[in-house]
């Protein structure tokens, strides 16, 4: 069905003079006889429609005739998604034959207050610093925040290894605006460890145009909703990286000449994020536990997009460049990492008190570091010396050999039980290991 003709062309958007007004927002159009140029309608007025282009617009001719392709972007809604790799628009890209069973529209409503489920069982990651400072439960939304190159993706991969590999849950991995190399590596990793067939992957990576990068999250979510609502499962979804979603939206908004807020973000950023985040919820059918990496642009934690996204998280793990500089991985800042579960009623008195003691000790340590820089260690009181040495041991203890980082550390990864962590921390604080050298605590599992 002919819709109209291309009249303006920009990098991402085109305008179409309409000869047919039977058109809705979200409709997918293509240039007649050339499926290289595909558009999604984002705005309609009396005589023209503004569209974003799913692929590059280079070589597109002014005056080209545009026809309707489908009502909306669609995604596979069946078990056929498992073990497969999709692009942001729901197309299979792993090069293997694919037969569709059922396809549905990507858009969906958020979960209502009536059906949203909140109480769940705890979920241990086996990563000491996370289980201790920011424990989580099923149905949680965990934000992994970090600047560039401090280890977000490695941590996401370790979580996939520790949680997904040991559970029966299906998982969705969404690559949004991240490195294609890592996307391929994850695929190969999952394939070689026979974990691929319980998982679906959606990629709109950083070399793709912003429309692709902004769509991969919703496409992945629709698949997660299938697993939750149709298969009644507890689903895991890993999103790397949710910040790239809003970054891509900013690029599109600029191209559409919309008015932007500070730092170039779209003015409807808050609602864009809520549309996505409110969909990631547990209901009576099953739970969706999500791990969302959040990139921090320019190491600026006060960035609007970061803050808005963080307000939806049940817990946050903050990765810190200063700690990675010390060679301590995972480079988690324990002062900023927390979760809603850190509450004596939920994790128990003992765990809660230990967290408080460790934080107090580490806070004092930071103060002491400044004093030492001026006076040296000898000048400290006996009590402060103890705090100083024990804190350094604690800090080293919270580094951990990770399974997926074996190629960096040459040490095999370890899954540490929370009970061991609590015992070890208590013992370090109580001075049981005062005569052990601090370097013995680096990159170990539990203290043996």
């Amino acid at each position: 069905m002919q819709i109209g003709k291309i009249i303006t062309i920009n990098d991402i958007s085109v305008e179409i003079i309409l000869s047919n007004t039977d058109l809705k927002i979200g409709n997918i159009l293509e240039v007649e006889g050339n499926s290289k140029y595909v558009f999604e309608v984002v705005e309609i007025n009396n005589i023209s429609a503004i569209c974003v282009s799913l692929y590059s617009t280079r070589g597109l001719q002014k005056g080209s005739v545009v026809v309707k392709k489908s009502d909306e972007l669609e995604v596979e809604y069946s078990d056929k998604i498992l073990g497969r790799v999709f692009d942001s628009y729901g197309n299979v890209i792993d090069g293997l034959p694919f037969e569709s069973e059922k396809r549905v529209k990507v858009s969906n409503n958020t979960v209502s207050l009536k059906s949203v489920k909140v109480d769940n069982e705890p979920l241990w990651t086996g990563i000491k610093v996370i289980d201790f400072f920011a424990p989580l439960e099923k149905g949680f939304k965990m934000g992994l925040l970090g600047g560039a190159g401090v280890g977000k993706t490695v941590l996401i991969k370790e979580l996939i290894h520790n949680i997904y590999a040991s559970s029966n849950s299906n998982a969705i991995f969404v690559g949004a605006g991240e490195r294609s190399r890592e996307g391929k590596e994850l695929y190969e990793d999952m394939k070689s460890s026979n974990l691929l067939d319980k998982m679906a992957m959606v990629y709109g990576q950083m070399g793709d145009n912003p429309v692709s990068r902004s769509k991969s999250v919703a496409t992945g979510l629709r698949m997660a909703e299938y697993l939750r609502d149709e298969k009644k499962q507890d689903v895991l979804i890993f999103i790397d990286n949710i910040y790239r979603f809003i970054q891509a939206k900013a690029e599109i908004a600029t191209d559409l000449k919309e008015l932007l807020i500070e730092n170039g973000y779209p003015s409807n950023m808050a609602s864009e994020i809520s549309q996505i985040e409110e969909r990631i919820n547990s209901n009576e059918n099953g739970s969706i536990t999500s791990f969302q990496a959040i990139y921090i642009p320019a190491d600026d934690l006060t960035d609007d997009a970061v803050q808005t996204t963080m307000s939806y998280m049940d817990g946050q793990i903050v990765l810190d460049r200063k700690i990675s500089e010390l060679g301590l991985y995972p480079a988690i800042n324990v002062f900023k990492s927390t979760s809603k579960l850190v509450d004596a009623e939920k994790i128990g008195e003992r765990h809660y008190n230990l967290v408080e003691r460790v934080l107090a000790s580490l806070t004092r340590y930071e103060e002491l570091e400044e004093i030492i820089a001026v006076l040296g260690i000898e000048e400290l009181s006996e009590e402060d010396k103890n705090i100083f040495h024990r804190s350094r041991k604690l800090r080293n203890y919270f580094s951990q050999p990770m399974f997926v980082a074996e190629s960096f550390t040459n040490i095999k990864g370890e899954f540490v039980d929370i009970k061991d962590v609590l015992n070890d921390v208590e013992n370090i604080l109580d001075g049981k290991y005062d005569d052990v050298d601090e370097s013995k605590f680096r990159y170990i599992g539990k203290i043996s």
Partner: protein, 448 residues
């Protein structure tokens, strides 16, 4: 009267001749506004996006935006002043760059010129300015080593073929030197090297040309230059075209190294162009798609499944050793690791002036030989621990430390000293391993 007729006939003849001379002239428009790097043109109603156009034989450019009533042309070559009313011919072909296979050992631009000889090459082929992104599934794993001959890199923060490793640091910390060392070390390693100079002075580029020629690297190195006095659009396009050249070589199963010196200048040029074309500025006045501008470029770096590879060493210049500014963190988040150079270390005489704490290789041991991986991870963890302990115990009296700590401090100092290496003095893997043999021996001693 007759004269008038003749004149009219002459005009027609001239037009016919014009069309003959430019046998691919398709349609004609008129300049209505002249901006610094763009012109606005009316007419050309069947133009395609990114088509090449000729402005009255005075200038060359490509279609940057197609509007309802006019089009915007980005200029890449201006030989004479353009005036409103000048005729604009569309050439009915996509804008492409020119490249000659005779470019080896030469300094060239992306329009087929040999800049040292001052003339065009004879056997030119057209190269697209930009290709579609390389699909995830066409990528292989990055596992083959790429050796720079610098111990601090090959051993601690190794680079693989197909990796993107950023070199970042202040002015005069040896960034370009590391890249040149890497190029010189590729002799007899079946690697094509492309050094892309962006916004550098002619003197700097000539120095680099002499340096590489003198050290015998000319036979496998191409220098692609865009100087700081050229049209910003040329500087903007140069890295994309260079990567297109590299991509076609990679698809012919070559291993290619591309050095981009430097991307901060590229970002600034892109900002200049974007602001001139009235795009809404984002953070630090850079356009919202500045991340994409670099991500689509650097995503060309990969190990292709068919054997070829593109290794990219982008360079970014920082101010006051701050690697957390917007552009730096963007590029860090795209690359597979970074080599951070510190002006403090440089001043102390540590060459290469690497900041070993902040440097990262995300591929780590995956791209190292087993011996290098084994000893490299040992050296790295000992070194980082030493650097951290050194800072804390700076004021402590070494005689009062525990023997264990004293030994570690002494050992750390030796490890650091052995990383020192003067420019253009590459070491082989065997030499590097030999340097640190003492660590393994020492280790077994301690275990006894």
């Amino acid at each position: 009267m007759k004269g008038m007729c003749d004149m009219e006939l002459n005009k027609v003849d001239k037009k016919v001749e014009d069309i003959k001379n430019n046998d691919n002239i398709y349609s004609v428009g008129k300049v209505i506004k002249v901006n610094p790097y763009t012109v606005i043109v009316s007419g050309l109603n069947d133009i395609t996006y990114y088509e090449e156009v000729n402005v009255a034989d005075k200038a060359k450019g490509f279609v940057f935006a197609v509007g309802k009533n006019n089009i915007t042309i980005s200029l890449v070559e201006v030989n004479e002043k353009i005036n409103p009313g000048d005729e604009v011919y569309s050439l009915k072909k996509q804008f492409k760059c020119l490249f000659s296979m005779d470019s080896m050992g030469k300094v060239i631009d992306i329009f087929g010129n040999d800049l040292i000889a001052g003339k065009k090459f004879d056997n030119l082929v057209e190269v697209p300015v930009e290709n579609d992104p390389i699909p995830i599934m066409d990528r292989g794993l990055v596992t083959r080593e790429f050796l720079t001959g610098i111990t601090g890199i090959d051993m601690l923060y190794p680079i693989g073929r197909g990796q993107r490793q950023l070199i970042i640091g202040d002015k005069k910390t040896g960034k370009t030197q590391i890249a040149l060392d890497a190029i010189v070390n590729q002799k007899d390693k079946n690697m094509v090297c492309i050094y892309v100079a962006l916004g550098k002075t002619k003197k700097e580029v000539k120095d680099i040309y002499y340096e590489l020629t003198k050290r015998g690297a000319a036979s496998y190195t191409i220098i692609i230059a865009s100087f700081n006095d050229e049209l910003p659009n040329r500087t903007y396009l140069t890295p994309y075209a260079s990567l297109s050249i590299a991509e076609s070589m990679m698809l012919d199963s070559y291993d290619v190294l591309v050095v981009i010196d430097d991307l901060k200048k590229h970002a600034d040029v892109y900002r200049q162009i974007s602001l001139a074309s009235k795009k809404t500025p984002g953070r630090d006045a850079y356009p919202s798609d500045i991340f994409y501008a670099h991500s689509k470029l650097l995503e060309k770096g990969c190990q292709h499944k068919d054997g070829g590879s593109i290794t990219i060493l982008p360079i970014v210049e920082t101010k006051a050793s701050d690697i957390t500014d917007y552009i730096s963190t963007n590029i860090i988040s795209i690359c597979d690791g970074q080599l951070v150079l510190s002006s403090k270390n440089f001043a102390k005489g540590e060459k290469p002036a690497l900041n070993y704490g902040l440097s990262v290789s995300r591929l780590g041991g995956n791209v190292q030989s087993p011996e290098m991986k084994k000893i490299g991870s040992l050296v790295r963890s000992k070194l980082l621990e030493y650097l951290e302990v050194r800072d804390i115990y700076e004021l402590a009296n070494i005689d009062e430390m525990s023997i264990e700590l004293q030994n570690r401090m002494k050992e750390g100092k030796v490890i650091l000293d052995k990383l020192g290496q003067y420019k253009f003095s590459p070491k082989s893997k065997e030499e590097m391993i030999e340097l640190y043999k003492f660590l393994e021996v020492g280790d077994t001693d301690a275990n006894r």
